[in-house]
Point group: C2
Chain length 552, copies 2
């Protein structure tokens, strides 16, 4: 550790502020300078949509720490409205513009940390600069949006982008009394999710009155005579609104790094090693501006999430202070809530596995209640578990439901981190009392269903071949359930009558069995398999059918 080392940090939001504080805890002597071109450091950027929605009323709550606090508590020199214009790697200096005075200075560094974040993508669509079209990144941005809402009282809004932030924005604008239309280029909302899991979210959004335009992109914006905006799409539709929010993702802020000749990765982020060092050994980079490795696929990814950014910041500070520390990538655990629904995921999706060329995996679906059905308020969690077919290693999970969703995904994220198999999930011993869960928790059920497959107790039918005609489709629900909606072409024999009616089933054809959620079908598979039939379970049952083959 150098005595009197001078560390300069560029960007003072999540990663930069965390890194600065950690540096001070490790090195009381170091000189630490934190530069940010904005007016604030350490603000709660994840809270901005809720500030716009007025769930958070008080702007001051978003300021987690002030320059004064940094000075008093940590003896850190924080300079806001100071923009770093360039890096001179030879001289080990950065050129800094004081936005208030307009003066430029050079700051020497022994170690430089880049934490510039990522900027909202703002395509050069016609009319994009019309008043009333917003992006959301900073407190001033959100203050502008609040003022627009409070002075103009807009009744209709368009959100461009149906990802996590877009849907959070949609909810918050609806909370402000607006009729919201969401336009998303992909054919589903929440593109990180597998399409059938996103379908649950789509259904809820539609049920809550959100207008969804999927598989279509914005062509441009115009202003009408009365000052309203018209958003026109590539498919030729147009939507009037008094307010538009762009939430089509973010792009790493790499300008400084690029100008300085630091290596940029193929996904467009600053490339770092596991110590968060860039291609210059005296320059570190952290947060949304860097590419990190996906822990499961090993692929470089942009994962702009606060949790990994914090860990990166701590590890960078450790390394700068001479410690042996590594950041070993991220799982991409994420959660999003809107309109009474929680959607969360961790680890690999089928999409990400396909992209990485992985084929050694298997999927199960289930719909367990968040707590025992006999306790008031039970509701299903729709859960998709992905595991390695060859050894049962848990690879990923996606879940959607009214509540207690993050809890199950957190357990599964921990399981994935610790390299648990589906057999471990069978044994996981989780909190149970009637209002909290079930003796067989959702996570246990997922493990049991997957383990049943791996032990050969049941085989899964390939949902994607449902309409191929190759199998005999058997529905083992009760007749009233079957009548209320069933897979076309399926034959109904309730589970309780199966032993008696076995002779009605073919022995020369695979029998693909469904029930409501998969459990009775599993029982039926076991019964019939032991009588010599060739059976497969349609995992997740009719519930899963409705999202794989949605009525549109």
């Amino acid at each position: 550790m150098l005595a009197m080392k001078r560390v300069v940090i560029v960007g003072g939001v999540a990663g930069g502020a965390t890194c600065a504080a950690r540096l001070r805890r490790l090195d009381e002597q170091a000189e630490i300078v934190l530069l940010d071109r904005g007016p604030y450091v350490s603000f709660a950027n994840c809270g901005l949509p809720y500030y716009v929605g007025n769930l958070i009323h008080d702007e001051a709550k978003l300021l987690l720490a002030t320059p004064l606090l940094f000075k008093e508590r940590f003896n850190i020199d924080v300079r806001v409205r100071h923009e770093v214009l360039s890096i001179d790697r030879e001289a080990r200096t950065v050129t800094v513009l004081d936005q208030v005075t307009g003066s430029e200075t050079k700051e020497h560094y022994d170690a430089l940390v880049l934490s510039p974040g990522a900027a909202p993508i703002r395509p050069r669509w016609p009319g994009i600069d019309l008043p009333g079209i917003f992006s959301l990144r900073s407190i001033p941005d959100s203050r502008e949006m609040r003022q627009w809402i409070e002075t103009r009282n807009p009744k209709k809004a368009v959100v461009v982008g149906g990802g996590f932030i877009g849907l959070e924005m949609a909810e918050n604008l609806a909370h402000r009394g607006m009729q919201v239309t969401v336009i998303e280029l992909a054919k589903q909302v929440m593109p990180p999710l597998d399409a059938e899991m996103a379908e649950y979210a789509r259904q809820q959004l539609v049920a809550q009155g959100v207008q969804l335009v999927l598989g279509d992109g914005v062509a441009g914006f115009e202003q009408t005579d009365n000052g309203a905006l018209v958003v026109s799409t590539q498919a030729g539709a147009s939507f009037e609104a008094e307010m538009v929010v762009l939430s089509i993702g973010v792009r790493p802020e790499t300008k400084l790094a690029q100008q300085a000749g630091l290596e940029i990765g193929e996904r467009g982020g600053i490339r770092v090693d596991s110590t968060m060092r860039t291609s210059d050994p005296l320059i570190w980079a952290i947060g949304d501006a860097v590419e990190i490795k996906n822990k499961l696929t090993g692929q470089w990814e942009l994962i702009p999430l606060a949790g990994p950014a914090n860990r990166q910041a701590r590890r960078a500070a450790d390394v700068i202070c001479g410690r042996n520390a590594h950041f070993d990538g991220a799982l991409g655990t994420a959660v999003c809530g809107f309109f009474g629904l929680t959607v969360a995921l961790t680890g690999a999706t089928e999409k990400s596995l396909r992209r990485a060329g992985v084929t050694d995996y298997q999927v199960v679906y289930l719909h367990p209640n968040q707590h025992v059905g006999y306790y008031p308020g039970a509701h299903p969690i729709h859960l998709k578990l992905i595991f390695k077919k060859s050894d049962g290693l848990v690879l990923g999970a996606q879940a959607i439901g009214k509540s207690e969703v993050a809890r199950r995904i957190d357990v599964l994220a921990t399981a994935i981190q610790m390299k648990a198999t589906v057999f471990d999930l069978e044994d996981t011993e989780l909190c149970y009392a009637p209002q909290y869960g079930a003796a067989k928790d959702a996570v246990n059920m997922a493990g049991m269903i997957a383990a049943n497959v791996l032990r050969g107790d049941v085989e899964l039918a390939p949902w994607e071949h449902l309409n191929s005609g190759e199998a005999f489709l058997l529905d083992v629900r009760e007749p009233n359930e079957y009548r209320a909606g069933a897979i076309p072409g399926s034959r109904n024999i309730p589970l309780g009558q199966l032993r008696a009616k076995m002779q009605e089933l073919p022995r020369d054809q695979e029998i693909w069995i469904n029930c409501g959620v998969g459990q009775r079908a599993y029982y039926a598979c076991r019964v019939l398999a032991q009588h010599g039939f060739n059976t497969r379970n349609l995992s997740g049952g009719y519930q899963t059918y409705t999202v794989l083959y949605p009525a549109s």
Copy 2:
């Protein structure tokens, strides 16, 4: 696997019913007979307190499966009101009393499964059989309690026993409009918890109007002239009530096993091996009647919980069907909710470690919010993490708060199962959005605090020696916080003034530092330690002080 094996199962609630259904899934040919002396099988015994409290209105909801359903779906021969009187191990038969006809028959078995459960303890106290004194085990028990409540409209109740079920009962009786007194022999409620963690629960119970009598036992009961009950205690107090509920624990039902000469363990439960076999290789035992190994301490324990019972049932069925399966013990993960509070724990407590003679452990306390403070509705979770001092292995955790408590304990239970260390907890990547958590989740914080200790970045002060006078006590909170309540004898220097006032601190004495919850004290420890002071953090700060040294 024997063809046409005959399996007899004694006891048809959680374990027995699960075992029977699993047996059928594995062996379509076996003859499976499920005997229960009560009128129902497969009922929701964990739901009974809520049926008494009328949160669950409909008794039928508690019946998870009927004998008819077992027959139709699983081809299982269920006989209720059939009591097994004895086992003839030589002849491989059980003698069964049909309680309705009074006739006795012998049933042959190839494999016998004992799942008799555990009975509420009912000491021979004077007056224990007076009307109005209840124990809760079955649907008829709870029906009787409901009738008592609905016909007599009691205003005061005494619950004997302040454990998990006792507190659930207290809440449900309060929900029925009763003023409730809880009498507990131990000096704390919830005896499985460490005392200081139970103190949070005590405070909440008192705040909610529950009268608590701790460290005192029941001496006996009398009836007054107007029909009310008087409960007198060993310390000489007496409490009038129109209703008394005994919740002082359960005792394994081992009579049958004992009579048959099966081995009974030192804790009074049926002794089984890891395949759930008793000392007779043709007899299995599962559920609340057996002793199981604590996964962490390796000690035999009685862990009457539904989750482990279910796993035992599945494993026993697997082994009976010729599979290689083992039950490897339990962590004792449990949760309980009452009066707006959730209390949960997993793994070892300090109590259980002391009992097992383990000294290689360390404790940290923290009080993180369930989600970021700036999002409305934030409240603290009081968390105690226990880990192995020599290598950081996570050993146990206890948590208390208004919500999102089970989620953190579930994550920690999974971590313990997977042999995670506190260093793994630092890296755990959990769901974060403002309404769901924090970029540094409570679990991450616990890991970081513990890892800081193991890396030598901070030492912990021994709370139990606080009053020994050996250390200089320093409180680094702001003056207004200090004035509102502080550790007696502590000196107040706010963190922000510490660098300036350092010369006021002793260099020849350990400085034990507290703040509100531990974070500022950690910063202070780091500052002072780097300036050559000998510092220790009072883990959990003043918040923890208030439960370790409660004002009584």
